[in-house]
């Protein structure tokens, strides 16, 4: 026990001294040991450094502009924004000093003005409702019914979420535009054209396309973790099937639905490319105005508006986290509820009704999820005269061969996207794993660390891009040294910062549910904290790690907002940026580029999924 006393089982204790060769080996061991011990601390420090350099510092510099005018700290710009009815509608009067009752009365009156912020919240709330309405039946189908292709369908629910928004916008134009699929079909049966473009409905459907699968995924996972014996106990105590659902199943599913709703709200509140493409400036959201103000070099007002946006997003997330802390049931069902066959077993109202409902749901889902993608595929092989043609792809090839240096060519876009995606995944994975490890341990202030680390989820992409551009690409002067990060590196960093919160979300729940005594056993056997992570924890949560990598790649490939800011001038444009540049001219090449993006993203996913098993998280 004490130094020099021998262990009871053998002659030598662990750090036994050996011969000369042994001493070298022991020295190497000690060095490796020391490195390992510090691995986690080093990785944490590196994560903090990356976050500081590519997120908090750049965002901070822009934010500072909103509170520092001519060298003096002032809230004037911010106050101006919140008092401007153009932004905050009737609420502006509240900030201007009017009583809440008067404001409430005006708000309920017929002439109410929402302002940009109000409209953004309004469309986000509606988008959330539509997404939940479309997502929950999907979860019901996936969690409670058995049918051929169920697992595949479940895996596919991740696809819309990772599709680049600019591509979704192209798909929606192709599907619901003036000459889109919907109007073509309507015209064929003699119905007048429907004008969906530049309406709120189009935005809502596009948002649902994105977020309903997210709601479905988290809800399905929660539904599947309900323990069948809990339902059986309720039934044996006299509860009917509906009561058992209401008292046992629903309380365990609510938190997941709320998580989906909260995330949907935050994502759609900060929406940019969808609204830009489908709403135009008439239906502009806060983020669009941030972009507009920044483009007009009005950084102070842009930053103030972005802060307002951030505050609202964060308060929604905080409200959800508060709810989650008190409501989430962590116990995982030992025995999940049995799935019913989708095929009708007998012709009774009880069996028929849910299946009829699901049939209607399938039609709606097909319209929302399949038609835009199918329309984009179709549009990419359709010429102006409606005949099938490969012209758009030929255009891409032609451009690749003869395009001038200043023109956007397809191959550099594909290559850049792949390189940036791989590089940002390599940065985002360790960052996400470290944050997951740090936030799953219990200690005071854990929630704060978690919130700070997850902030990139909620901060305006325009703001980040702007901060990066002005802070890093143009260069920062620190103690006489000018530090500048080149365009490509800045893009990779921005993508990694955008992607790593997803790694955290996919890895942390697995780590959290791992039996603590596994880690402790390994520690007692002599493994350092980092070794336990490598030998025990990561192998056991591997599907989550792979899912995180898939997210990081997908986020990078689809990221548009920060990239479009950072890729100005340089040849660092990616596929989404190429699509945006093409769409300005004609839809055809943009749809062809969109198909290329779809194929490349899909292939990357297949490759990544091969590395891991089935994953149940977001």
């Amino acid at each position: 026990m004490s130094d020099g006393s021998r262990g009871p089982v053998g002659e030598e204790s662990r750090s036994g001294e050996h011969s000369d060769g042994g001493r070298v080996a022991a020295g190497w061991h000690r060095l490796r040991d020391r490195l390992e011990r510090r691995a986690l601390a080093t990785a944490s420090a590196a994560t903090v450094a990356v976050l500081l350099v590519v997120f908090y510092y750049p965002v901070g510099t822009v934010l500072v502009e909103s509170v520092v005018v001519n060298g003096a700290v002032t809230l004037a710009v911010f106050a101006e924004v919140v008092r401007d009815p153009f932004y905050t509608g009737e609420f502006a009067r509240l900030f201007a000093g009017e009583g809440p009752l008067a404001v409430a009365r005006a708000f309920l009156g017929p002439e109410r003005r929402l302002g940009i912020v109000g409209f953004t919240a309004y469309q986000a709330a509606l988008s959330t409702l539509v997404s939940v309405a479309l997502g929950v039946p999907g979860a019901y189908l996936l969690a409670r019914f058995e049918f051929p292709g169920r697992r595949t369908l479940r895996s596919l629910t991740i696809v819309p979420f990772v599709l680049p928004s600019i591509m979704v916008a192209v798909g929606f134009v192709a599907a619901f535009g003036r000459t889109g699929t919907l109007n073509t079909v309507l015209a064929a049966v003699g119905l007048g054209p429907v004008e969906l473009m530049f309406t709120l409905e189009a935005i809502l459907i596009a948002h649902a396309f994105y977020n309903a699968p997210l709601v479905a995924r988290v809800t399905t996972a929660a539904w599947e973790s309900v323990d069948a014996s809990a339902v059986e106990t309720a039934r044996s105590l006299g509860a009917g099937p509906f009561q058992a659902f209401r008292h046992v199943v629903a309380p365990q599913v609510y938190p997941a639905v709320l998580l989906g709703a909260a995330l949907t709200f935050v994502f759609t509140f900060g929406t940019f490319p969808i609204v830009l493409a489908l709403g135009g400036f008439e239906l502009a959201t806060v983020e669009v105005f941030v972009y507009r103000l920044a483009r007009d070099l009005n950084y102070a007002e842009a930053a103030a508006l972005a802060v307002l946006e951030l505050l609202i997003s964060l308060s929604v997330l905080a409200a959800y986290l508060r709810y989650e802390a008190s409501h989430t049931v962590t116990s995982r069902g030992v025995r999940p509820l049995p799935r019913r066959p989708l095929r009708l077993p007998e012709l009774t109202a009880r069996e028929l009704l849910p299946r009829l409902g699901l049939g209607v749901y399938a039609l709606v889902a097909a319209l929302v999820f399949l038609v835009p993608i199918a329309s984009m595929l179709f549009a990419s092989v359709t010429g102006g005269d409606g005949a099938l043609t490969l012209d758009h792809y030929r255009f891409l090839l032609e451009r690749q061969r003869t395009g001038a240096a200043f023109q956007v060519r397809p191959w550099p876009a594909v290559r850049n996207s792949l390189v940036f995606a791989a590089a940002s995944a390599l940065v985002a994975l360790p960052m996400g794993v470290v944050v997951a490890v740090v936030t799953t341990r219990r200690y005071r202030g854990r929630a704060l660390v978690g919130a700070v680390a997850m902030a990139p989820f909620a901060v305006s992409g325009i703001l980040v891009g702007l901060g990066l551009l002005r802070g890093l690409v143009f260069g920062v002067e620190i103690a006489g040294w000018r530090i500048a990060v080149a365009g490509s590196a800045a893009i990779v960093a921005a993508h990694a910062v955008a992607g790593y919160p997803f790694v955290v979300r996919t890895v942390a729940p697995g780590l959290e549910s791992l039996d603590r005594s596994l880690v402790e056993s390994a520690r007692a056997l002599g493994a350092s904290r980092a070794r336990v992570l490598r030998d025990v924890e990561l192998p056991l949560v591997w599907p989550g790690v792979v899912a995180g990598a898939a997210f990081a790649v997908a986020i990078s490939m689809g990221e548009f907002t920060a990239t479009v800011v950072l890729a100005t001038g340089a040849d660092a444009y990616t596929m989404p940026v190429a699509i945006e540049r093409f769409i300005g001219r004609r839809l055809g090449p943009a749809t062809a580029m969109g198909v290329v993006l779809l194929v490349v993203t899909g292939l990357s996913f297949v490759v990544i999924e091969r590395l891991g098993g089935e994953y149940d998280g977001i």
Binding site: M1, S2, D3, S5, G7, P8, V9, G10, E11, E12, S13, R14, S15, G16, D515, S517, L518, E520, S521, A522, R523, A524, L525, G526, A527, S528, R529, R531, D535, V536, P539, L540
Partner: protein, 384 residues
């Protein structure tokens, strides 16, 4: 009757294998662990000797597992110091404490084979005795009676086998200290009895200092060199199983360890009519609920401290069920039979007397009202 008398020569055997003069392997000095407001462990002083099988026993929430986790280094004490052989280990992470831990759920790594599990600790240290890693894994699996199972998947093992693999894994690197946290509680009764004997014999074969946590007092008594009975974060008594059973230091220990009848009364007078002076080993007369009972006199220092009692003192004493004899009319009470549990070798009968519950053991089932009495020397006065 006479054979039941505590025999002074037996006391020597209490301090059996490690001997009271064996060096201290683990010492806890004034150790406390608080979580926010509540104290899980409060001001614990323990000295665990080298080679000793030391058991922490107590009801759930008494702090026994927390104490074990503090020794392992999974938790840091809020106050006090823990020393391994004189060396303060505060701040030393678990991987540097040279301890082997077996958990209640065994915590076998599900993605590794049995052999990989057992060999895991050997990735960080050379096997003791200069053997190869493979040989060490084989040796350990032989030791726990699972030869040839290195290639198996832990999930395909029975609970008892998993428990033994966990033992082998904990022992493989040759730890100085083995920590067992309720390693039997997930197993069925018969297997538990067999395995605890195996654990004990492995411990003795290796001579390894072992700290064992259990809520099962019978298990604690059957395998340990010494036992610490814990209550609300503090050990109430630390002694050999025999001492804990025969001379419980508190009412709590008396009632927690085995069946016991605890009486509270007031000293009336010394048994021979004089005040029992301090240090005398004379029995005393005690008034319990109107009945006068004669208690103590089992010999100086042997059993209780009836000697230091004077008339008017409140006194608590206890009697094991087997010492409360049915049919004995002197020094006893009349009680009503409430119910009887047939246990095979004996029958445990619950009696009611003056709103107190008494427990006796008999060969035959009883009914109605019975007389029970006891030899004063069998009563143990609790010195609370």
């Amino acid at each position: 009757m006479g054979s039941e008398r505590p025999d002074p020569t037996r006391e020597a055997s209490d301090a059996d294998a490690p001997g009271a003069d064996a060096p201290v392997a683990v010492a806890l000095a004034g150790v406390s662990k608080r979580y926010d407001e509540t104290a899980a462990v409060e001001n614990v002083d323990l000295r665990i000797r080298e080679g000793e099988f030391f058991t922490l026993v107590g009801p759930s929430g008494c702090g026994k597992t927390t104490t074990l986790r503090l020794i392992a280094g999974f938790e840091a004490p809020t106050a006090g110091a823990i020393r391994f052989g004189g060396r303060d280990v505060s701040g030393v992470p678990p991987e540097d404490r040279n301890v082997g831990v077996v958990f209640q759920n065994y915590a076998l790594f599900p993605h590794m084979t049995v052999g990989e599990n057992v060999g895991y600790g050997l990735r960080f240290s050379d096997p003791p005795g200069g053997v190869s890693r493979e040989q060490r894994v084989r040796d350990l699996l032989d030791l726990v009676d699972l030869p040839g199972s290195a290639g198996r998947d832990p999930e395909n093992l029975s609970g008892g086998q998993q428990q033994r693999v966990a033992m082998a894994r904990a022992l493989a690197p040759g730890p100085d200290l083995l920590l067992l946290d309720e390693p039997m509680s997930a197993l069925d009764a018969r297997l538990r009895e067999r395995l605890r004997l195996q654990v004990r014999s492995i411990q003795q074969e290796l001579g390894i200092t072992t700290v064992y946590v259990t809520h099962d007092q019978e298990e604690a008594l059957s395998v340990s060199d010494r036992v610490a009975v814990m209550r609300e974060g503090t050990p109430e008594q630390v002694a050999s199983p025999r001492t804990v059973y025969r001379r419980p230091a508190s009412r709590f220990v008396a009632e927690f360890v085995g069946d016991n009848n605890v009486f509270e009364g007031v000293v009336v007078e010394g048994a021979d009519g004089t005040d029992a002076g301090p240090g005398s080993a004379e029995p005393v007369l005690v008034d319990v609920g109107g009945e006068t009972l004669c208690v103590g006199g089992g010999g100086a220092g042997a059993d209780g401290d009836a000697g230091s009692l004077s008339p008017g003192d409140a006194v608590t004493f206890c009697l094991r069920p087997q010492h409360l004899r049915v049919g004995r009319t002197d020094n006893g009470v009349r009680a009503a039979v409430e119910n009887a549990e047939f246990l095979g070798e004996t029958t445990r009968v619950h009696l009611e007397w003056e709103n107190r519950e008494l427990v006796v053991r008999t060969e035959d089932p009883l009914s109605g009202r019975v007389t029970v009495g006891f030899d004063p020397a069998d009563a143990h006065v609790i010195d609370d």
